[in-house]
């Protein structure tokens, strides 16, 4: 029997349409990757010359033109840790409430979800003003790393809650049934089955959150301030990397090279966190971390 070729069974019009769609899809993907490569390339080109060990550990001098980003890195890590320490438990617990404990529609779930949607749409500068009024002034924390971290935590909540809820909802119902049929309590099911099964989604949310926190400038200008000294305590003002980059490129003539180098450090840190978090999630899920 004669072999029927691919082209024969498809009218040429269809084939042309298919090819075009294929081109468009490829083009879009290449464009997206190209943008990423271009940004990284630009950062590496502009920043690598300025990057050194001393740049990473020294405090900045002369408004950041000289010296390094040691103090800025410490402030960044502290602000991030405070934000996550507050937002992760709150966010994941709320996500668990929405996904597992209240009906999908109506009542409390609806109210919580609606307020989170509003919160997610609030511009970060408004968070900054709120943080300034509430944490800095009303609670008397002043311009401090603590105020900045708490403000960031408020900003991260919508992301963490919605990713946790979506992740838990995506866990197949069969796992809940199996766990219940095995006599596991609701809490044990959530803790030992659903949360580990949703780990990739939780980590994805965490990464989005870290990304947003590391990139945040506006909300922090009003709360953690932009003092670039090494902080002595959480109540000291501290400048994060993003604020540092903003300040160098906007307010400091001749600050381009250190700005580039700082941005390169920021991107590298994000990539590193990404890789580590993914590996952690894989390990958690396979059950190795809980069995050994």
């Amino acid at each position: 029997m004669r072999e029927i070729s691919h082209v024969e069974i498809m009218s040429s019009g269809h084939a042309r349409g298919d090819r075009m769609v294929q081109w468009v899809v490829y083009f879009a993907a290449i464009l997206v990757s190209a943008a990423f490569v271009w940004i990284v390339w630009d950062l590496v080109r502009g920043g690598i010359g300025h990057l050194s060990w001393t740049f990473l550990v020294e405090s900045s001098r002369d408004a950041g033109r000289a010296g390094g980003i040691g103090a800025v890195l410490v402030s960044t890590v502290l602000v991030l840790l405070i934000a996550l320490a507050v937002a992760l438990p709150l966010g994941w617990a709320t996500g668990a409430l929405l996904a597992e404990y209240v009906p999908a529609a109506g009542g409390l779930g609806h109210t919580v979800r609606y307020s989170l949607q509003v919160l997610a749409a609030v511009p970060s500068i408004v968070f900054g003003l709120f943080g300034n009024i509430f944490f800095c002034v009303y609670l008397g924390l002043g311009f401090s790393i603590l105020s900045g971290g708490l403000t960031l935590a408020c900003m991260l909540l919508p992301i963490l809650v919605s990713t946790a809820e979506a992740g838990l909802r995506a866990v197949p119902g069969a796992h809940r049934l199996s766990a219940t049929a095995l006599g596991m309590s609701r809490t044990a099911t959530l803790w030992h089955v659903l949360l580990p099964a949703a780990a990739p989604a939780l980590v994805a949310g965490l990464l989005l959150g870290i990304g947003r926190a590391m990139a945040e400038t506006a909300a922090l200008l009003f709360t953690s301030g932009y003092v670039d000294r090494m902080p002595d305590s959480l109540l000291d003002s501290g400048r994060t990397l993003a604020v540092h980059i903003f300040d160098l490129s906007m307010n400091v003539p001749g600050g381009d090279a250190p700005a580039y180098a700082s941005a390169l450090v920021l991107i590298a840190a994000l990539l590193l966190i990404n890789v580590l978090a993914m590996r952690f999630a894989a390990g958690w899920q396979r059950g190795k971390m809980v069995t050994v």
Binding site: P103, P172, A174, H175, R176, L177, S178, A179, T180, A181, L182, G183, M184, S185, A188, H192, V193, P196, A197, Q285, R286, G287, K288, V290, T291
Partner: protein, 293 residues
């Protein structure tokens, strides 16, 4: 007697793995436990009805499930077989608006009584679902989780139980070198046997099986079916199946459900052979001969 029925409309047995004499639907030899020939009720169901909101799903069911035997629930889709099965371990509690009347006893304890300890009840009753549903963790962790939950925490105890149940389901040789790799890397049939092992780990008296073979290919289905036959005697098994040939092969007793006035009713209950070969009710006769349903 080792007569294998071939009248049912189910899958031809030719592609099943050839099985031993345990595969007979008659009251074949048992590994242990009391003989089915002297039926001894373990679960007694009296005037049991189940409602989802205002809708009646099961209407006035009364039957005995005999200790150590395999009872098959057969009937068309939507006739309440699965609802009946999940009211035995009270998974129906998870469904909002679900209520019951009538009674269901295991020995002397009322399953739906207010004093029932659900954890203890479900520890006594293992359940296997239609779709293999191992947790997305390691093989070891899958069985360890329920053990841990029920207070078995010493490493040696857990290891011993995990090895025993994996041997019971014939999976030990296949997975002993990769207990810590993901359960999702197993084939469908292996996953289903892992789920059976997980249910056996808590040493239940009763096993509920909701179409345990219907999502499997014929070979894997044959392996699981053999396994179910081997469990006869050690456990009291209630199996929902749409595969009539399978019901004839594995079950000692059969309960035929049918939908009447939108509610599931028990039409006939009896020895598997009697239900299939000389049914008392004309609906049963039509169903097992493939004329209805």
């Amino acid at each position: 007697m080792n007569v294998r029925g071939r009248r049912g409309p189910g899958k031809p047995e030719a592609d099943q793995v050839v099985a031993g004499e345990n595969n007979s639907y008659t009251l074949g030899p048992m590994q242990a436990g009391p003989a089915c020939c002297a039926p001894q009720p373990l679960i007694r169901v009296r005037n049991f009805s189940l409602f989802y909101g205002g809708r009646t799903a099961l209407d006035n069911i009364s039957l005995d499930i005999y200790r150590g035997c395999i009872t098959a629930l057969i009937g068309p889709s939507g006739c309440g077989k699965t609802s009946f099965l999940s009211s035995i371990n009270r998974l129906t509690d998870l469904i909002p608006g679900c209520s019951i009347t009538g009674r269901m006893h295991i020995d002397d304890s009322d399953i739906h009584g207010p004093a029932t300890d659900l954890q203890a009840l479900r520890r006594q009753i293992g359940m296997v679902f239609q779709k293999p549903s191992p947790f997305p963790f390691s093989i070891y962790r899958n069985i360890e989780l329920p053990l841990h939950e029920h207070g078995i925490k010493r490493r040696e105890d857990k290891d011993a139980i995990i090895q025993r149940v994996l041997q019971d389901v014939g999976l030990w040789n296949e997975v002993q070198d990769r207990l810590h790799s993901s359960a999702l890397s197993l084939s469908g049939g292996q996953q289903q046997r892992l789920c059976i092992a997980r249910a056996l780990a808590l040493d239940p008296q009763i096993l509920l099986m909701d179409e345990p073979c219907s999502a499997l290919d014929p070979i894997a289905s044959g392996v699981v079916e053999d396994l179910i036959s081997r469990l006869r005697g050690r456990y009291t098994i209630i199996i929902v199946t749409h595969n009539l040939a399978q019901a004839r092969r594995v079950a000692n007793y059969a309960a035929f459900f049918w939908v009447k006035d939108h509610a599931g009713r028990l039409v006939e209950f009896g020895h598997c052979r009697q239900v299939f070969e000389s049914p008392a009710h004309e609906l049963t006769a039509a169903y097992v001969n493939g004329a209805r349903g």
